[in-house]
């Protein structure tokens, strides 16, 4: 019974290797994935971050002004 279990385990291991090795070799040979950011995406990123920073300044000043009028700054 024990011998049967060992044989089955070996058979399963060999079967798994037979399937996985070609897949691993194929993956090794293929080029690394590549997706270059296009111009509109780069524009959104750069202009968007500059606009976000400008908006942050305005929001901060607005909050401060409202708190200052209420005497809630400190």
């Amino acid at each position: 019974m024990a011998r049967f279990r060992m044989t089955t385990r070996w058979a399963l291991t060999l079967a798994a290797l037979a399937v996985l090795l070609p897949v691993a070799k194929a993956g090794e040979a293929s080029a690394p994935p590549r997706w270059l950011a296009d111009l509109p995406l780069l524009q959104v990123l750069i202009y968007g971050s500059v606009a976000g920073l400008a908006l942050s300044v305005l929001i901060l000043l607005l909050i401060w002004w409202k708190e200052w009028r209420r005497g809630d700054v400190w």
Partner: protein, 479 residues
């Protein structure tokens, strides 16, 4: 416009202009800091935590200003230059640390209405042994952080104005120490508000002027032709760096007293909103400064030292005016971070070591005096440690990531789960730090925080499951 490849050896700001800017802003910060420091009740709580009642504007601004460090203006362009878009994203993800800390901040404010430091929490929650481990981690990180700011100061002033590296360092540390010493947390928070507006406003101005001279389509075309890998959004190493950066920032924010002191200083009603707003606004800064790194890359600029990139490129694009703007931005970034570090670390040392450990019978006036002496001592220590110059700020920064990431789970567990085990917290911090440091040396610096946080999480969860405790939350009210 093409940037000259033979740059950075010549200073871009005449010494007279540089000195004028240094004097103007130094006098301004010291005068405002001392003036704001005279407000309030004058007790230790007022000096250490600005009266515990600051509003949303000041709270958000002080988070922004403290998190916009010399590294954000000097290192984020370096990330963009070396790693392209993923470098910029990874730096921007550091803002997640502030956003994710928002619910914890609210919880801290509720559980510890009289708390003063992060050390108070660790000591009350996990005991003295865990506190020692925590203090070693936070001391190492804080000294590393202080050193990067001090070295950044020296490098900036040298790059822009030709000042000696050590002279620039002494000026920036000296100014921050003086107004923090006299004004305490009120001086820090008040100057942070103006500094954050200056930093953000001038960065917008520099970016707009730079993009008018070197438009994005031109930048994109140059990158596609010469450095397409910098535009690759499917960069496996980029993903690794990005998540390492996010976890590193979580470790920094979750454990360090800079952020805990802001929680205790702020009004309860604004704590959550200020961390969310501050984090989101901050994320735009490394993207903007990182874009400058892409510009330098697209122009094949030969840089003698890559962490001089931002001042050098801005000076080349915008002339002396650009150099002056960048000088003010980075001077404000450095002083705003250094003052926060000095004030919050002095709070931690005075409260946790001098008061709670060495002299529990200390009076309120003595505690205030002790805090002031620690501010002064820290300023001098920073100067001493930063005297020898290191070539890359990144090497200092990543080293501490391995340590701080190990504190994320002990802090988070300790705030929400009464069953969190104190032995597990110690084991999580020690094992996480050890594995993180090993990864830093044996694999790559940018793996350190990832592995440290992962190991710490497993140890904390398993240890707590095996031996759950029953913690009484009321214990934290004593803090």
């Amino acid at each position: 416009m093409v940037i000259s490849p033979t740059l950075a050896v010549q200073p871009f700001l005449a010494p007279g202009i540089a000195w004028a800017l240094v004097v103007i802003f130094s006098v301004l910060w010291i005068a405002l800091g001392v003036s704001w420091g005279r407000r309030g009740s004058g007790d230790a709580d007022d000096y250490m935590l600005a009266g515990r009642n600051i509003g949303l504007a000041l709270s958000t601004a002080t988070l922004m200003a403290s998190w916009v460090t010399g590294n954000t203006t000097l290192l984020a362009p370096e990330f963009g230059y070396r790693n392209g878009l993923w470098g910029m994203f990874s730096y921007a993800l550091a803002g997640l640390g502030l956003v994710l800390f928002a619910p914890l901040a609210l919880r801290i404010k509720t559980l510890m209405p009289k708390g003063r430091t992060s050390g108070d929490f660790i000591r009350l929650r996990y005991g003295r042994a865990a506190w020692w481990v925590f203090m070693v981690i936070t001391a190492t990180y804080t000294l590393g952080f202080l050193m990067t700011q001090a070295m950044g100061a020296g490098i900036l002033l040298e790059a822009l104005s030709g000042f000696d590296y050590r002279l620039g360092m002494v000026v920036v540390i000296g100014v921050s120490t003086i107004y923090t010493l006299y004004g305490g947390m009120r001086a820090v928070v008040g100057t942070d508000f103006i500094q954050s507006l200056l930093i953000m406003g001038l960065l917008v101005l520099v970016a707009v002027l730079a993009l008018r001279q070197f438009p994005v389509p031109e930048l994109h075309r140059a990158l596609v032709e010469e450095h397409p890998e910098r535009l690759n959004l499917l960069l496996p190493a980029g993903l690794l760096i990005a998540w390492n950066s996010a976890l590193f920032s979580m470790g920094e924010v979750f454990h360090n007293n800079i952020w805990w002191s802001r929680v205790f200083s702020s009004r309860a009603s604004v704590v959550f909103s200020s961390f969310v707003l501050g984090g989101l606004a901050w994320m735009t800064v490394p993207l903007v400064t990182g874009s400058i790194g892409l510009v330098a890359l697209a122009q094949s600029v030969d840089l003698p030292q890559v962490n001089m990139l931002f001042p050098v490129v801005a000076s080349q694009l915008l002339g002396a005016g650009g150099a002056a703007l960048v000088f003010v931005v980075v001077f404000a970034s450095l002083t705003s971070t250094l003052d926060s570090l000095l004030a919050s670390t002095a709070d931690l040392v005075a409260e946790d070591v001098v008061f709670k450990l060495l002299n529990p019978n200390m009076s309120d006036a003595q505690l205030r005096q002790a805090t002031r002496l620690v501010v002064l001592g820290l300023g001098l220590l920073t100067l001493l440690l930063s005297w020898p110059r290191l070539d890359s700020l990144a090497s200092v920064l990543f080293f501490t990531g391995a340590l701080v990431a190990s504190t994320i789970w002990p802090v988070a567990y300790g705030l929400y789960w009464p069953s969190a085990n104190r032995g597990a917290a110690i084991a999580a911090m020690v094992s996480g730090s050890a594995v993180g440091l090993a990864a830093y040396v044996l694999i790559a610096p940018y793996c350190a925080a990832l592995l440290s946080a992962a190991v710490s999480a497993v140890v904390m969860a398993v240890g707590t499951q095996l031996q759950p405790e029953r913690f009484d939350w009321l214990t934290l009210k004593e803090g």
